[in-house]
Each structure stands twice: as structure tokens, then as C-alpha cells.
């Protein structure tokens, strides 16, 4: 046992600290003399949470182990033969293991830095207490999710993450576009959430009836370490488990914005840039990938599931990158890059290398937060998100330009920056599986091509924003760097973006990348093939950067000729493949038709039945009402009739029944 492993029992403090921050800032923040103070409270709490998170992950590094503790048993059902042969328990507990420590590290560090950056970025916004409270709750939910020790608890925090993202994306709720983007994010991820919940039910019903086996604990829901992933149990469960796996993938696709549920993420840019940074790096989208990784490690996917996951991941990686190529909005370009990078993670998990996916999640979190905060710095300075209205910012904002460049290099996968190592691992991992699954080939190639696009679009953005002469309106005030609270996170994250990939060479860090069964997550060895693959991907990335420089560098503006055959493609990309329109159409036509049908059923069948009863009773009571004439004689008649009825029953019917029953 490592010296720090004793801390694992206090892991629950991390979400608790953030909840405390939420409560304090949310309840008292509005009464402070200066609203930023609420922000400093949140910074202090998230700093404390970061200290705990870092200590825990260092503890895991020094001595990888799994710690689980049940804080509260919510429901306990004794074993019942037939239905629950093992009984059933719903608990609230914490699980500290290498991967949750890894995620905890990412979430708390990025969360703290974003919180700090917000002090500068948000200082002239209204509704600051609300902002910091929601941000705290967001972090609380995410850390809680990471530490959850069973799927239902996981789901609770998952939903909290979802609702916090709704609040934060819709932070500028007076803006109709922000309000609708928040709704969109909530509803689209909701589709995934429903699938996730159904998946939980399916897993539960399968395993609860089949008995303890595989990664499923005897009491049904708790993650258990060291069990072999996916041991098919019972008979005929293959199909059920495949469906359950697909449903879980649906949940993850919703949260992690994978095709075809990707539409909400670019629109989520309506929120403050800091929120985008948090959503894209550490919290929201990471939840989906984490869910996939956890499921793959603890429950396992069937071969069919794996293929579907690889397909979704590989396709999304390329598909999202194409949309980033043409977009004029700096934040949306980065947003598409997030979808694309998440696609890579999903691809790795699908190929059976969950730890590689999480490794990419880890490095990606730093450089993506860096890119967003740098973009935020730019937006803060120039007041626009349109790349074509920037230009030449390099001279005024050296730090930001350098930070964005570092982030871009990391994203593009240029060694030795962070993205190179993890992305390369993903490609190598998938490549190693190509022999066993020929169907992986097209998706591997798509992902490989995505490398080129990634390098191109991010440097297109860099060149447009930072190089060449300024294209800004000269009457506007000069752009300038933000205050120190904004610069410090940029510097720190730049540092991480440079070295995070090298962490694997640190003693201990690979311990975080061991899965429960102690299997090394990092793909195997680096032979000649892998090195060639690496070289090819770096070459592609370099080519992408070169193309970007050729088309956009030094103030050049590349305009696609009107007559170019690529013009329709460009328009299609700008229109985002018309996905939103298609969804709107589906929403309007299909859903509306169904709603009309439901309305018909409601009005005529259900209401008809109800009103029918109502009318029947009204008619009956209308008849009965006439009995109440108010005339004494009538009442006397009823009394006499009733009396006679009693006589009849007593003297005729009762003896008859007695005779029948008694038989005598």
C-alpha cells in the first residue's frame, strides 16, 4: 500500500467540496459586496478539490489499487429464488481505482484552472453567483460520476451533469439562440440518456437473473474490480447483451456528441467560452467516453457492439473534422475538433483498448481546455468569434498566440506534444486489431485521414486569427491580453499540453492506465510497423499544417472559386450536412404525426371513455334526482318498498338460499 492510499476513503470529499461551493455561492453569492468574491470562493473550493484529486491520483500512481466503499445503502432486497437469486442492493458509494483517479485528476485540475480563468473572463457579466454556483455543481456532478461505484449512482450524476450543462449552455438565457441551444443540448443528450437507462435495465435483468458472473457484482450493480470483462452468462444472453451494449453506446454517443447525436455540441458554443472549455475538456463529453470505458472494462462488449462502436467512432472522427474545415467561427472549429477527437477515443474503446481511449481523453482534456481558453482570450480581446474579423493578433497577444499554437500542435499530433502520443497509440491500437476484424479497415482509414484534416483546420484557424495584417476595424480599441487570472491557466495548460503525453514515461503514471484485470492499457510494443505508422501520421499532420499555411498563412485568404466543383461540397459542409434540418423535419413530420395520433387517441378514445362515464353517470343521476321530489309521501313509499324488500329477502330469498346451500 502506498502512503497516500489512505486518502482514498476521503475521495467523496471532492464532490462534497464542490457541492458546498455550489451551496455557498448559490445561496450567499448574491449578497456579497462584490460579486467576484463568489468566484473566489468557488476557486478556493475547487482548489481544495484539486488538491484532494491530485493527491488521490498520485496515490494511485505510486501504488495502483482499487478501493471501494459504500457510504449509504439505499435499498436492500434479500435474495429471492427465481427472480433475484443473489438479492439486490442499491448503494451510494465511492470507487477509487486507476481510471477514476485519472479522470479525477483531469476534472479537478481543468476545473480549477477554468474556474480561475473565469474570474478574468466573466468579470463584466451579470449573474455571476449563478455562474459560479452552476459551475461548481457541474464539477460536483462530474467528480461524483467519476467516483460512482455502481451504474445507478453513475446515472444519477450523469443526469446532474446533463442538467448543469443545460444551465450553463443557456447561461445567456436572454439570447434566444442560447436558450434554444441549451434546450437542444438537453433534448439530444436526453435521447442518449433514455437509451442508457434502458441499457442499465437490460444489463441488470440479464445479470440479476443469471447470477454472479463476469464483472457484475453479486448484488447487481456495483462495479467489481479484477473480474474478467464479459463472461457470457446463462444461455441465450448474447443478443440481449449486444442490445444492452448498443443502448449504453447510445447514452455515451449522446453525452459525447457522437454521430448521429452530435448536433448539440457545436450549438453549445452559445454558452460562455469557459463553459465550453469545461464541457469539452473535462466534464460533459468526457462522461460519455468514461461510460464507454467503464462498461468495456467492467461489463464488456460483444463483438457486434465493438464493431458498431468502432464504426461510430471512426466515422465521427472524420465526419466532424470535415465540418471544421470550412467554419468561420473560432469556437465552432474547436467544437468540431472535440467531436472528432472524441471519435478517436470511442474508436479506441471499441477496438478493445479502453485505456488508450482514456489516455487520449487525459491529454485531450489539457490541450482542448487550452485551445478554448486561448480562443476565449481572443474573443475577450476582440469581441467577435468570426475568424475573418481577426488576423494579426500575434503581435498584440503573444502569450495567447503561443498557447493556441501549442494547443494546435498538440491537437494535430506533432511530437512531442501531448496529442501525438495518445493519438498515435489509438491508431496503433486499432491497427493491431485490423487483422482480427477486417471490417475495421474503413474506419481506421477514416480516422487516419482525419489526422490530416485536424492539422489543417486548426492551423487554418491559427493563421486566420494570429498571422498576417490585422483586419479589424481600426476604430475599435486595441486588442490586449487578459488579466493574470486568465494568463496563468493558459501557461499551466500549455505546460500540460506539451508534457502530458510524456507522462507515460514517468514512473508510476502507467499504473493509472492499468485496467482492473491488471492488463496494460497502452498498446503493446513499438515495432517497425508502429513506427512507420507514427511516421505516416506525423507526415500527414505536417502536410495538413503545410496546406493551411499555403492557403491561409501570412494574411493570405483562400477563396474557393465560384466555378469550382468543390463549391457544393463546401456549402454542404457549412450547412453541417443539413443534420439539423433533417432532425427538424423528422421532428415536425414524424413526431408531429405521432403527436397528432396520440392527440386523437387522447381526445377521442381516452377522453371519450372518460366523458362517456361522466355522461352515463350524469344521466343516471339525473334520473335518480327525480326520486328526491321533496314530497313526504314519496319518501314514505320508498321506506315501505324497502321494508317489503327486506321481508322478501328475509322470508323468501334467504330460506331458498339456505335450502340450496344446506341441501336440506
Amino acid at each position: 500500500m502506498g502512503a497516500l492510499n489512505g486518502l482514498f476513503g476521503y475521495a467523496f470529499l471532492v464532490p462534497l467540496l464542490m457541492v458546498a461551493s455550489f451551496a455557498i455561492v448559490g445561496l450567499a453569492g448574491g449578497r456579497l459586496k462584490r460579486l467576484e468574491w463568489g468566484g473566489w470562493v468557488a476557486v478556493a473550493f475547487s482548489g481544495a478539490a484539486m488538491v484532494v484529486g491530485v493527491l488521490i491520483s498520485v496515490g494511485e500512481m505510486l501504488s495502483p489499487s482499487s478501493y471501494t466503499n459504500v457510504q449509504y445503502t439505499w435499498l436492500h432486497l434479500p435474495p429471492a429464488p427465481g427472480t433475484f437469486p443473489n438479492g439486490f442492493e442499491l448503494v451510494v458509494g465511492t470507487l477509487v481505482d486507476p481510471i477514476s483517479a485519472l479522470l479525477l485528476l483531469v476534472v479537478t485540475v481543468v476545473g480549477f484552472l477554468v474556474m480561475l480563468y473565469s474570474i478574468g473572463y466573466m468579470h463584466h457579466d451579470r449573474g455571476l453567483p449563478r455562474y459560479y454556483a452552476e459551475l461548481s455543481l457541474f464539477l460536483a456532478a462530474m467528480t461524483g460520476l467519476v467516483l460512482a461505484n455502481n451504474l445507478l449512482e453513475f446515472f444519477v450524476f450523469w443526469e446532474l451533469v446533463g442538467v448543469c450543462s443545460y444551465f450553463l449552455i443557456g447561461f445567456y438565457y436572454e439570447k434566444p439562440s442560447a436558450a434554444s441551444a441549451a434546450k437542444e443540448a438537453f433534448l439530444v443528450t436526453r435521447v442518449g440518456d433514455v437509451m442508457f437507462l434502458l441499457g442499465i435495465f437490460l444489463y441488470f435483468s440479464t445479470y440479476a437473473q443469471a447470477g454472479p458472473a463476469g464483472g457484475w457484482a453479486a448484488n447487481g450493480f456495483v462495479f467489481v474490480h479484477g473480474a474478467q470483462p464479459f463472461v457470457p452468462v446463462g444461455t441465450g444472453n448474447g443478443t440481449t447483451l449486444t442490445i444492452a451494449g448498443i443502448l449504453i453506446l447510445g447514452g455515451a454517443a449522446g453525452k459525447s456528441a457522437q454521430f448521429p447525436l452530435h448536433v448539440w455540441l457545436p450549438d453549445a458554443m452559445e454558452g460562455p467560452t469557459t463553459v465550453s472549455a469545461l464541457i469539452h475538456a473535462a466534464t460533459m463529453v468526457a462522461a460519455g467516453v468514461y461510460l464507454l470505458a467503464v462498461t468495456s472494462l467492467f461489463l464488456g462488449f460483444t463483438a457486434t457492439d465493438s464493431l458498431v462502436i468502432v464504426a461510430i467512432g471512426g466515422f465521427t472522427a472524420f465526419f466532424a473534422a470535415t465540418m471544421a474545415v470550412v467554419h468561420p467561427d473560432i469556437k465552432r472549429v474547436i467544437a468540431y475538433s472535440t467531436i472528432s477527437q472524441l471519435g478517436y477515443m470511442v474508436l479506441a474503446i471499441g477496438a478493445g483498448f479502453a485505456m488508450v481511449g482514456l489516455y487520449h481523453l487525459f491529454t485531450h482534456a489539457f490541450f482542448k481546455a487550452l485551445l478554448f481558453l486561448a480562443a476565449g482570450s481572443v474573443i475577450h480581446a476582440v469581441g467577435t468569434q468570426n475568424l475573418f474579423q481577426m488576423g494579426g493578433l500575434k503581435k498584440r497577444m503573444r502569450l495567447t498566440a503561443a498557447a493556441f499554437a501549442i494547443g494546435g500542435l498538440a491537437l494535430a499530433g506533432i511530437p512531442p506534444f501531448a496529442g501525438f502520443w495518445s493519438k498515435d497509440d489509438i491508431l496503433a491500437a486499432v491497427f493491431s486489431q485490423l487483422g482480427s476484424h477486417p471490417a475495421y479497415w474503413p474506419f481506421f482509414l477514416l480516422a487516419f485521414a482525419g489526422v490530416f484534416l485536424t492539422a489543417y483546420y486548426i492551423f487554418r484557424a491559427w493563421f486566420l486569427a494570429f498571422s498576417g495584417p490585422t483586419t479589424r476595424d481600426p476604430t475599435l480599441p486595441e486588442a490586449h491580453e487578459g488579466p493574470w487570472v486568465m494568463q496563468v491557466p493558459l501557461v499551466v495548460l500549455s505546460g500540460f499540453a506539451v508534457v502530458a503525453g510524456l507522462f507515460v514515461f514517468l514512473p508510476g503514471f502507467p499504473g493509472l492506465l492499468l485496467n482492473g484485470a491488471g492488463v496494460a492499457g497502452i498498446p503493446p510494443h513499438y515495432g517497425t510497423t508502429e513506427l512507420l505508422l507514427s511516421g505516416a501520421s506525423v507526415g500527414l499532420a505536417a502536410a495538413g499544417i503545410g496546406l493551411a499555411w499555403f492557403l491561409w498563412g501570412n494574411g493570405r485568404v483562400f477563396v474557393l472559386p465560384e466555378s469550382s466543383p468543390a463549391q457544393p461540397v463546401c456549402r454542404l459542409l457549412l450547412a453541417r450536412y443539413h443534420f439539423k434540418e433533417a432532425y427538424d423535419w423528422v421532428g415536425l413530420r414524424a413526431v408531429y404525426t405521432v403527436a397528432r395520433a396520440a392527440d386523437f387517441v387522447d381526445q377521442y378514445v381516452i377522453d371519450g371513455t372518460v366523458h362517456g362515464f361522466e355522461r352515463a353517470f350524469a344521466a343516471i343521476s339525473d334520473r335518480l334526482r327525480r326520486i328526491q321530489s321533496g314530497i313526504v309521501s314519496d319518501y314514505a313509499a320508498y321506506v315501505v318498498a324497502g321494508l317489503l324488500l327486506v321481508f322478501v329477502l328475509l322470508l323468501l330469498v334467504a330460506p331458498w338460499i339456505v335450502a340450496r346451500l344446506g341441501g336440506s
Binding site: 328526491q628 321533496g630 314530497i631 313526504v632 309521501s633 314514505a636 315501505v640
Partner: protein, 105 residues
């Protein structure tokens, strides 16, 4: 000592009760209703007297005593009933029960 057919007496008292019942149900005048009730009451008293003699001895004494008490009750009832008739007449100006239907409200 006399002997009279039981069927006749039962038929008489039953007939009187039926007449009284019919009167209560059909008459609208409160005094007529009161009279109907008296007829029915007399049917009951007649029964007591007849079956008292029918049984003879101590039961006969008991039956006739009850009959005496019942006559007293019946007279009391008429007094109270008439008081109600008068009160109703003063308040509503009629003793026709068909015109008093407050019970409906």
C-alpha cells in the same frame, strides 16, 4: 269464552294496515295522512288484543296491557301530529304535503 277464526282476524288487521299504508302514500292532506296512520295503528292494537286472548292467562294480561299503553301513545301521536299540522299551516298557509317540498333542497 269465545272462539273466532284466526284467519279472519289476521285478514282484518292486515287489511286495515294496508288501507292505512295506502292512505299514507296517496293522501296529500296532512290530516288525512294522520288519520291513515291512526288506522294502521288500530290494526296493530287489534292484533295485540286478539292474540292476547288467543294465548290466555298471563300472556293475555301482558298483551292487553300493551294495547292500553299503545292507545295512550296513539293519542299522544295525534296530539303532536295536529300540533305539527297547525304549525305548518301557520307557516305555509297549507297542509298539502305536495306543496311543501323543502326536503328536495
Amino acid at each position: 269464552m269465545t272462539s273466532l277464526p284466526i284467519v279472519g282476524f289476521v285478514a282484518l288487521s292486515a287489511g286495515l294496515l294496508a288501507i292505512g299504508l295506502f292512505g299514507v302514500l296517496t293522501r296529500r292532506n296532512l290530516i288525512l295522512i294522520l288519520i291513515s296512520v291512526e288506522i294502521a295503528m288500530n290494526a296493530a292494537i287489534l292484533n295485540f288484543v286478539y292474540f292476547a286472548g288467543f294465548l290466555g292467562g298471563a300472556p293475555a294480561l301482558r298483551g292487553q296491557s300493551i294495547a292500553v299503553v299503545l292507545v295512550g301513545f296513539a293519542a299522544t301521536e295525534v296530539a303532536v301530529g295536529l300540533a305539527i299540522v297547525l304549525a305548518l299551516h301557520r307557516v305555509r298557509g297549507t297542509i298539502n304535503v305536495a306543496e311543501t317540498s323543502e326536503l328536495r333542497e
